[in-house]
Amino acid sequence: MSQEFRLNNEGLINRKKEIIFSFNGKKYTGYEGDTLASALLANGVHLVSRSFKYHRPRGFFGAGVDEPNAKLQVTMNGYSEPNVNATEIELVKGLSANSQNCWPSVNFDVGAINNFLNRFFPAGFYYKTFMWPKSFWYKIYEPFIRKAAGLGVASVEKDNERYEHKYEYCDLLVAGSGPAGLSSAFAAAKNGAKVILAEDKPRFGGTLLTDDVTIDNLSGKDWADKIISELKEMPNVVVKNRSQVFGYYDHNMTVMFERIGDHLEQKSKFTPRQRLWYIRAKEVLLSTGSIERPIVFGNNDTPGIFLSAAAKEYIKVYGVLVGKKPVIFTNNDSAYETALEFKKNGINPIVLDTREEQNSQLVQDVKNQNITIKFSHAIIVANGYKKVNSVLVGKLNKNKTDYEKTEIIECDCVCVSGFWTPTVHLASQSGNKLSYNDKIDAFVPDKSKQSEKSIGAANGTFTLKETIENGFKIGSEASSRITKKNNPITIPKSNELNHNPHDKFWCSPLPKGKNYKRFVDFQNDVAVSDIEIALKEGYRSIEHVKRYTTLGMATDQGRTSNLNGLQLVANIEKKIVPQVGHTTFRPPFTPITIGAIVGREIGKEFMPTRKTPMHDWHEKNNAVFVDAGAWKRPRYYKQGNETLSEASRREAKNVRDYVGICDVTTLGKIDIKGPDAAELLNRVYTNAWLKLPVGKARYGVMLREDGIVMDDGTTTRISENHFHMTTTTLQAANVLSHLEYYLQVVWPELNVNVLSTTEQWAGLSLAGPKSRDVLAKLFPNLNVSNEALPFMGYVEGSLFGVEARIFRISFSGELAFEINVKSDHGIFMWEKTMEIGKEFNIQPYGTEALSTLRIEMGHVAGPELDGRTIPYDLSLEGLISNNKDFIGKRSLGREAFKSDSRQKIVGLIPVDKKSSIPEGSHLVENKDAKLPNPKIGYVSSSCWSVENNNPFSLGILKNGKNMIGKKLFALSPLKNTVIEVEVISSHYVDHEGKRVRS
């Protein structure tokens, strides 16, 4: 269990706590505080993955979000997750990881043959190859691409982890806890602002953890620790590590992804794994730092090649050497810091600098340490397949276009630095149009569109002194604008070594006759040659080049490749980078889990469940429920082994023969009060309402302004200025908004109040020839005769002491009553009715029987009120008043609405009187006509007519009025049925409506 690349004294890991983990089946040891990457590197493991397209061996390249290669399949707590960045995940006991894009193993990968066939895998390979013939797509191409493209494998197990959402408001959100973030958060907190400081990594401090600097005579890390502990003491400050602000949305809404559970060896059942924070901040300060970019050279993707800052981070934070024989390749001073860190630990690096002789403080320091520096040198190509073993180095000519002489230098790792790219993703997401800064050869934020400001390296400020000064200044200003306080600030003194300017050199030229692969984008395997081909083939816009080559489109969003890609396009096009422009940055900054996005809205918490007061009774009596919006409604009550259709026929027949009881609580109910209540109804409904007497109900249809039927229902006049409106279950909320719109916006002069009372009333419908007998026994003191309570009548009564409203209305076409009581008494009403109805053979019926009954009668419901029908189509023209105006009336005068050959509701029976007609079937005249067969109508609702004992359907049919008696075909391509049907009247039962009036 040796960790031969682990240093004895460096790093912030806890050497007292060993952690055993496994990688590709083999056990290794690391320490608490390691990432999976640092622990593997401590054990000398570099080869971790195969590249996306060519299956080339790949190793670690970065030390954090910059990592393009080390995406692993990780199993923790029995749960497997793909594409986990090994440089970001913290080592925890029992963690097991596997390489993903290789078969049978990362050491021997069959797909690597792609590497030798690479001339067949140029840019646009997928577009060019997998095109013809079309029939190959599903069977051959797609499965091949899926397998070959293999990122990880998503788990098929249920995710038992807990994910949460949180909403937070603050004055200042500071994203990133490097020197810029710490100084600005500290200054703002001192002004009393409510501050949230978010750090993506487990440790606060950013570059202060790795840079050899002092602040107020403390080391960078000690100063960071001091500031953080002071901030944590302040009640107005929230400090969060393991928390990445990944998205910037409208009105200064940002979303932060907090990782809470994964690094814990043991966590309580109620500790979430991850949490999403929706943070609305008055001001956002972006101190997200910068990411080192590579220099491009031959085989620059060989394992053992690192960003130089990553190599430094592995030493300083994790006490791990990425190699013992390093070559450092740079175009700027910052890689010299890495050289010094190696030297401090007894390792002698060789530095290759593309610049001519330099003499900055930092370079001088390195010279003083007797470290070999070769100026005007570049790496041409790296040698070694699964691990770098030497580099071919060339002395650059004056123009840096070719080499004067070359030599081979043996090494076991390469640390490369091509200067720094500010992390501008969040600024760009906020709407900030970036501008190009040619001092640093990178884009920086320009004018803010929202209340945001970038500070420090994120803004292109690369010296500590300036960063801290700006941090304090901006933090203080931004907060005092909000809190109106102005606490005096003392900017701490910092010490750092001066740097010389960087060299614009970003890509080693190919020696004549050589054809080395030089990668720009590691994760998507995009080489210099791919981009050259795309441009040769005529792609110009950077957005097109990006999509054609997939440059920067991998999950790392091109963090290390974007600028080099732009530089290359600019060079070929003989432009400068700002003319090429940049592609769009989109959230999330790094991948986040679906679980975190979904949060607690899963399973039964996905949406609220609405239950009627009688729900438990239905459940006890074997109801099978159906969802109606958020409501649960009994669909049928199962007896024995009954099927749905057997049960619903039994229930419907019982209504026609005796009496049935149905829970209608879910119908929308709206209380309408005020002196102008009748006037409102008169405008909203198509028929007349002003003269409706008190104690009477009326059926009404309401339209949208475009003449389409919106909803129907009965409304009852309880007293002169008080109405009780009912709506269909699903339209209840829309109808209320509709009424509120007209009352508040269009006709504010009407003195009316509307209020939803759906939840206040429990309702049951009592239907069938025996319903009056039951009602009479429920209300022994009430005269419920046909004379005293006629059809569409309304009375109030006492149901064994409970106040009740009784409406004589019918949806089933039978003699029927609806009883409403306050919700709390719903179950009492229901049970009492069942008890009293027993002698009359009462049975409960569900929505399926309810549908059967209304379809037979030709009553329209949801399937007919589908947002495409006008009153005429539904044979409701009798409800259109000619003597008044109403919402949507003017639209009914439109030419097409008046046409005599318009669609109209009809009844349909199968000619064989046996075959059920599937809902949604198309109605056609000729079943064998050439496709597309002209459709002249559709089947909206179907049932088994219990009255006539054969199938019956309602349909909407073109020229339906003149089609009665015709024979048509109902085709259902979904059910694969062809049924000959006869067109009949939509009123299949009780044409004259005698029963409801009996």
Binding site: G431, E705, S891
Partner: protein, 88 residues
């Protein structure tokens, strides 16, 4: 998610509101003869502006009041919100 100031309740998250479209449309008066064009303009024709737009919102998960907002359709900046009875 936008931050919308209901004139009755104050600042609230967008998810409490329903959008109501162009807030300058005037419904023709009841019982008044209107031409086909006038009616079509009212029912169907809406501008798809880039820039300042006066629109209706309904505080559906709050006070249930309709109100008007002046919003930039390109930047989502909301300049002002006002009760229906107020000028905007």
């Amino acid at each position: 998610m936008l931050n919308i100031k209901c004139p009755y309740c104050g600042d609230r998250a967008q998810k409490e509101f329903a959008y109501g479209g162009d807030g300058t449309v005037k419904r023709p008066e009841l019982n008044k003869e209107v031409s086909n064009k006038e009616w079509d303009d009212f029912v169907y024709m809406r501008k798809s502006l880039r820039g300042k737009h006066i629109e209706l919102w309904h505080h559906i998960s709050g006070c249930r009041q309709w109100f008007r907002a002046q919003r930039d359709t390109a930047t989502h900046e909301i300049f002002k919100t006002a009760k229906i009875s107020e000028e905007i």
